[in-house]
Amino acid sequence: MIDFEKIRSSFPILDVKVNDNKLVYFDNAATTQTPTQVTNSIRDYFNKQNSNIHRGVHHLSNISTEDFEQSRKKVKEFIGAEKEEEVIFTKGTTDSINLVATSFQKFLKSGDEILISEMEHHSNIVPWQLCADKTGAKLKVVSVTKEGEIDIDHLEKLLTEKTKILSITHISNTLGTINPITEITKLARKFDTKVFIDGAQAIAHQKVNVTELDVDFYCFSAHKLYGPTGVGVLYGKEEILEKLPPYQGGGEMIELVTFEKTTYAKLPSKFEAGTPNISGVMALGRAIEFIEEINLDLIFEYETMLLNHYNEKSNKLEYYEPFGTSLNKSAIASFNLKKVHHYDIGVLLDNMGIAVRTGHHCTQPLHKKFNLAGTIRASFGIYNTKNEIDYFFDCLSRAYKMLC
């Protein structure tokens, strides 16, 4: 059982009042809130051990280095990687994708193909466009069905020996669809296509095991995992990371520097140039502890219950138009209300204390395909409740009545 009171009491931000209403935070797909366990660790780091890591001989540097590497170990275990060297700390999901989309250019030439899907976030489209421009490789795009699922037949058609890398989201940030990663990976293996998975929306909502998924790369951001912004993870299989050239040059990533030639450090340092976000990495470790204490299987079960409750309510509204109706969904609900602009709803909900996202959620091509100017998105996290969903639907009908 989830100790609900305890969880909510870890998030002081939930007591914030918006326009005299209690905040209802349904924008978890954009960023999750941060529990005191995490924020305290950031404060404690600066008050008690701030120093640079991996270089000093002094006490502070030593304890910080140890904590920092403890976080790496924690991430490794959390995602089921085989080695700590396979865990690279980055600025976030976007940074992780850019790293691979840049370093992987070494293996691409004109005529090769990169495969993504129509449901990708802009950050899993644009870096690959840049990569394609640079190398002459071609960007191919897998269709999404009207339910909001990856069209597997189309994917099979597009996969050929020319497909060098496939980059797909684990869970769609707009549709909420959970993609069948194992199935997709199996298909890609036929052609030795490398598989990159954007796990931003998955990591805090279900158990992820990169070894079982058998993916080559997996990435996520700490701030969607109840951690701080500005830090994220790139997981990569060791043998591939070894072959990739460095992404950025600087301190930390070198073995030996002379003006004639520099040799690079071993993994993971090779991809961690410069002083990292030390307190952020440590805080990510605390966030993982926070989540593991609750238990990800229970979180998945709880959030699925929230989504089911939400769907029961939304099904009763004849003016509710869902976007993304896959049966295999995470707790994300995008929608429009008949004849009403998403922006109008968003503004009214905001004044009632409800935080939702409105617009295209960084998936313009997906919205365009379905002829939508935008949608409203409610996305849930571990601290949300059925009562909040009930309040949300009361407000939604009030807003709708005001507008019609």
Binding site: Y343, D344, G346, M402, L403
Partner: protein, 141 residues
């Protein structure tokens, strides 16, 4: 007092009668539902205003020495705000528009309800209105 300021004061007075945000928004929504003088052939990208989450098209015409503004949005609330802006700036001289201050938006208490990103859209609309005024002034010599 310029005639722009006069209309602004009238709007401030009118909106101050509302006691809470719901009434104010309901008023805006009603304004947004009203028929407006907008020729749909101007619904083109070149008349689209940047910085708004909802789409806003704006064009201007000169009648004698006054400018009239015509705008449309796909969101009702935005259309309501546009209706207020048009009340303020339409049928005014270029000089009055260029010189006008915009503190009336603060005074009607809408800025606090409009987040920075949304207020940006509002600012872009006003900027575009002023650009039209400057353009007509130049043209008239």
């Amino acid at each position: 007092m310029t005639s722009v300021e006069k209309v602004q004061n009238e709007i401030v007075e009118e909106l101050s009668l509302f006691s809470d945000w719901i009434e104010k928004y309901e008023y805006l929504i009603e304004l947004g539902k009203d028929e407006i003088d907008f020729d749909k052939k101007f619904m083109k990208d070149e008349f689209l205003i940047n910085g708004c989450q909802s789409k806003v098209w704006l064009y201007a015409k000169q009648k004698n020495s006054k400018i009239t503004f015509h705008a449309y949005s796909d969101a009702i609330m935005t259309k309501g705000i546009i209706a207020l802006l048009i009340k303020v700036f339409s049928n005014q001289s270029p000089d009055d528009i260029i010189k006008s201050k915009l503190d009336f938006i603060d005074k009607i208490g809408l800025k606090s309800h409009l987040s920075a990103t949304r207020a940006n859209g509002l600012m872009s609309m006003i900027k575009q209105i002023k650009i039209y005024a400057i353009g007509f002034k130049e043209k008239n010599g």
